[in-house]
């Protein structure tokens, strides 16, 4: 009797072990099924020519399905070496245009010189730094490289490394 019981216990344990290993592997497979597809990951780069932009002009472009703000600073806007992208003599603010709170697109209010996210009343100043409301950090800077007067989004250049190191 006792011998039989031990055998049953062993079979139970062995089954449990096999099921656990199988379960763990299938969880990994299920997780990976929901990961972005290779074609999504390989989504390309976006190049913008900054030279036609006027002082104080705000532009919104798209990169990896995300909106990007490019703002050319005019003389009234204080320079900020921690956030500005310097191309030639001009300074630009380049940022992912998604509120760092929950991802809505803030609106540029040129009159007040602020980005306002209507969803939860978050505010960012001209440099994209959060000044009011729930956003936890300044607007994110997308990886970029400067190529003459062109800005290449998706690649990291030395200027990007410098900004990130300061942040």
């Amino acid at each position: 009797m006792s011998v039989k019981q031990e055998r049953r216990n062993f079979i139970g344990l062995a089954f449990g072990a096999v099921a656990a290993v199988g379960g763990a592997f299938s969880l990994v497979a299920v997780k990976k099924t929901w990961d972005p597809l290779p074609s999504v990951k390989a989504a390309g780069f976006t190049t913008v020519d900054l030279s036609p932009m006027k002082d104080g002009e705000m532009r919104q472009i798209e990169w990896r399905k995300k909106p990007i703000f490019i703002l050319k600073k005019d003389a009234n806007m204080a320079p900020n070496d921690k956030r500005d992208v310097v191309v030639g003599d001009s300074r630009y603010i380049v940022a992912i245009a998604l509120c760092t709170h929950l991802g809505c697109i803030p609106e540029w209010r040129a009159s007040k010189q602020v980005f306002i996210c209507a969803c939860h009343a978050g505010e960012f100043n001209v440099d994209g730094i959060n000044t009011f409301g729930p956003p936890p950090r300044p607007l994110d800077i997308p990886p970029f490289k400067i190529d003459g007067t062109k800005l290449v989004l998706g690649e990291t250049g030395p200027e990007y490394e410098k900004l990130v190191a300061q942040a």
Binding site: K31, W34, D35, P36, L37, V40, A43, Q60, E62, R64, K65, K66, P67, T100, H101, L102, G103, C104, I105, P106, E107, I116, C117, A118, C119, H120, A121, F132, G133, P134, P135, P136
Partner: protein
């Protein structure tokens, strides 16, 4: 094998093979319901009816809906609404039922709180019910994004971004849930799967569990009286139907339920035919645009109170960022009511009007949730009666948590000390 003899009819044939008579007794004709319950106890059967309506109209809509970001909007707003015969009817029934089911869920839930139906022996009814609330929320949200309108898109954006608040792995989790760097086609197809397959399956299972949790402790009643169901059932079966405090679920109780379903359906189809627009956000008749946020984002009315709690905190407190506090508060608001049996320290099962402190507490909670709902809809940067909406949101959020976590345990502890009411 059981002894199978020549059957006397179809019922007998089935009875010999799967004991249908016994099953009918256990499930309906000898499942006892107290007599002293009012129309508020009919909300369960109305919810069941609405769920069936949603299921059937969902099947009809699924035949023409296309889960693809380029086709989804037109498949709903053109094909189903204009081309498919009666497509508009299925869509409006589906949309109105999805909205009204939350109204009834809230009434059902607050009835349970009012009469103390979450206590002593009935905890599992309450817990499985709250689980259903969470599942219905997920089902409603995943369905809301399917037409791929502007509000759908941005609702998906905001809700998936909520997971970014998880420490360390947040951003990776958001990407994983979406299957892309932004809300996109992969997000739509997986939410489609959740909405039409996985969540309904889980919902049906939990609804069955919710029904089953009622079987042993039986439903509560208007006075919270503890009925000995065995004795009362015996009275009833002996023919003393007038003095028995119980009636069978079928035919006694369901007959009354059907009357309430009748009343409710008149109201429901009045909404479907004449006021279907209340369940339709005008912004959602514009196709989803990832490059433009609507000026003012808000969820459907039934999520407004939670949404207001999410944005109730707009400044940092003791070094905790407003962002994190808001997220934690929101997550907690979603599950806060789960713990009613723990907050309520008293054993008294009685309607709220017989428990003075609890009665005041109950209505304060209801009023606070209505205020949260109203301000969840108003723009966060507005001003009402000279007070900024952000501050009203903050105070009503704090009130919600204090009522549940502080006031309720205190008043019920006092009630217990007094030894009853």
């Amino acid at each position: 094998m059981a002894q199978i003899r020549k059957s006397t009819g179809i019922i007998d044939w089935l009875d010999q093979r799967m004991a249908v008579n016994k099953m009918m007794k256990v499930l309906v004709s000898e499942y006892w319901i107290p007599k002293n319950i009012n129309f508020l106890w009919a909300m369960g059967v109305i919810l069941t009816t609405l769920f069936v309506l949603l299921l059937i109209t969902g099947f009809l809509l699924m035949m023409y809906y296309k889960p693809d970001i380029n086709l989804a909007f037109d498949s709903v707003n053109y094909t189903i609404m204009k081309e498919v015969e009666y497509g508009w009817l299925w869509r409006h029934i589906h949309a109105v039922a999805a909205s009204v089911i939350f109204l009834i869920i809230y009434i059902h839930t607050f009835t349970a709180i009012y009469y103390g139906s979450y206590k002593k022996g009935r905890e599992l009814i309450w817990v499985s019910g709250m689980l259903l609330f969470i599942l219905f929320s997920a089902e409603a949200f995943s369905g809301y994004m399917l037409p791929w309108g502007q509000m759908s898109y941005w609702a998906a954006m905001v809700i998936t971004n909520l997971f970014g608040g998880i420490p360390v792995i947040g951003d990776a989790v958001v990407e994983w849930i979406r299957g892309d760097y932004a809300v996109s086609d992969s997000t739509l197809t997986r939410f489609f799967m959740l909405h039409v397959c996985l969540l309904p399956l889980v919902l049906i299972a939990v609804i069955a569990l919710h029904f089953y949790t009622l079987r042993i402790p039986h439903v509560n009643n208007e006075t919270g009286e503890e009925i000995d169901f065995d004795i009362e059932a015996e009275k009833y079966l002996k023919g003393d139907k007038a003095n028995a405090k119980v009636i069978p679920f079928w035919p006694g109780f369901l007959a009354k339920d059907f009357m309430y379903i009748g009343f409710f359906m008149i109201f429901f189809f009045y909404l479907v035919c004449f006021h279907f627009n209340f369940a339709m956000d005008p912004i959602n008749f514009e196709p989803g645009n990832p490059l433009k946020t609507p000026p003012h984002i808000y969820p459907e009315w039934y999520f407004l109170w939670q949404y207001e709690i999410l944005r109730g905190f707009f400044f940092d407190i003791f070094g905790f960022s407003a962002y994190n506090i808001g997220l934690i508060a929101f997550a907690f608001a979603g599950i806060a009511l789960f713990f009613m049996p723990i907050y309520d320290r008293s054993d008294v099962v009685a309607p709220a009007h017989e428990r003075k402190g609890f009665f005041v507490w109950f209505w304060l909670l209801v009023i606070d949730m209505i205020i949260l709902t109203i301000f969840g809809k108003l723009p966060a940067d507005g001003v009402t009666m000279g007070i900024s909406n952000s501050w009203i949101g903050f105070y009503s959020t704090i009130t919600f948590f204090i009522l549940l976590l502080v006031v309720l345990p205190i008043i019920t502890t006092l009630e217990k000390k007094r030894g009853g009411k």
